[in-house]
Symmetry: C2
DNA sequence: CGACATGTTGAAGCGGTTCAAGTAGGGTGG
DNA sequence: CCACCCTACTTGAACCGCTTCAACATGTCG
């Protein structure tokens, strides 16, 4: 194998049509020619270390980001200076669309672990969307889906007891991870108990107690961040048959 | 004045550039020529009586709706069959964009009073957005703004006490109504106490008690649905300086 | 005018928070 | 490589904000 071939191979790997997240991410459903156009505007493989920011509240909108690996939390800061987490983001999801409204980011995105993203300059994405009807529709869908998810979370926060919230959150994580090729019933949570509690509007202690309680009742096996779902049906019952997809920006499918 | 002139006048009045809501609604910032194109796809003046539906959960996406007068509540139905209100919509706001994600409405919109809307077929709006860059951007902005609002409501639900929630809600209504030319400190709530309670994740009784309490402390004057804000500053303090704009679909400005 | 929905007010109960104390990991420097 | 420290997590107990239940008042609409 020559050097030339090696370079070609790595180039190939960085294109959308060869990305394992293809069917979860923005380019889903685009034709080959359109994909090439999209490929041309994407800056690839920006790497972000744990606890570093992808963007921060107030940053002006330059790009949106497709997550390749790792995970992020996105949060608002309230008037008391406290965080309010509004979502966790997984590979294949698009981050940063929040900024379109005001031309600047209204939330902060922080890496929960070492992560990598594809950066997509927004002005170029927007003009590309005019030329590729399907891409425009895709973007509308993404935004619309995120609204749905936020509204489902509102329902959870407004009227569901703590047990239902946590069960629903765990089911949501399970569903999202399984779409990415991981096991549905065994996974690692990249976020802390505190982050989960914050998202779900509860105290850390309540999360901790409920996880213990779920474990006592053989619903889960909990070992630090590693969760094994032992009884998916019971968990679904507790969740009221609703799994929240608490991503900040939505996946496509 | 001839019949001909009368017809012309009423025609004029129904066009976007002569609509009093122009600077709150979708066409904001469009050029005259573009406005004409938009005008051509809009079906005007659909009237909806109180408690009737603009669209319902599961309806396939045909149109989005710009509210001309009146108000709506939009809500999800949870697995127990209970409503979860996700927003109230006022004149100048766009309703129905929730359906883009799944091609069908994920919530139900019910008129809180006799209302009138401009119906905009979505496929035509979408194709028009490709021809008018500014319109595409406007639509992205609308969706993005709605996400922001939902997230602000999430913050309220997740970590604010009842008093703050209600104060914030009232301030939000005040702000939105004043943008529409009404007084900022005196208005009628078109929704019931139950609807407010539902949106804010509280019991009706709590809303009732807090309103009485606000009145005792000379923050408000409450007479059934008619609210007079007596001390805006104190209300802002209670609201933690944050007014929630609980519209389901966002206004532009 | 009566009937029914909507709103108000009081009192008891409880889900989840807060406070407090202790445990366990994970990372760092010696 | 281990001792140390600091953060994350767990568990218990007291407390409290809000809900729930109940009874009544007030509008509103046929």
């Amino acid at each position: 194998m020559t050097d030339n071939q090696i370079i070609k191979l790595s180039e190939l790997k960085s294109h959308c049509q060869n990305c394992s997240l293809y069917d979860l991410c923005l380019p889903m459903g685009l034709k080959t020619g359109d994909l090439d156009s999209l490929d041309n505007v994407i800056k690839r493989r920006q790497s972000i270390n744990k606890n570093n920011f992808l963007f921060r509240l107030g940053d002006s909108l330059k790009s949106v980001y497709a997550i390749r690996s790792g995970s992020f939390k996105t949060y608002l800061i309230n008037t008391d200076g406290n965080e309010q987490i509004v979502g966790f983001s997984l590979p294949g999801e698009l981050l940063g669309m929040d900024a379109i409204g005001e031309n600047q980011h209204t939330c902060t995105a922080k890496a929960l672990e070492t992560s990598s993203v594809c950066e997509i300059p927004f002005d170029r994405l927007e003009s590309l969307a005019r030329d590729i009807p399907n891409l425009q529709h895709q973007l509308f869908r993404l935004l619309s889906k995120e609204i749905q998810q936020d509204q489902n979370l509102m329902l959870l926060l407004a009227q569901m007891p703590a047990e239902t919230r946590l069960a629903s959150f765990l089911l949501g994580m399970s569903e999202r991870l399984s779409k990415r090729g991981y096991a549905a019933n065994e996974f690692n949570l990249s976020m802390s108990r505190g982050d989960i509690a914050n998202l779900l509007g509860m105290a850390v202690e309540t999360i901790s107690r409920l996880l213990s309680h779920f474990q006592e009742n053989s619903l889960l096996n909990v070992e630090r961040k590693h969760i094994t779902i032992l009884d998916m049906d019971k968990l679904r019952q507790l969740a009221n048959h609703s799994a929240v997809n608490c991503s900040n920006s939505s996946q496509v499918s």
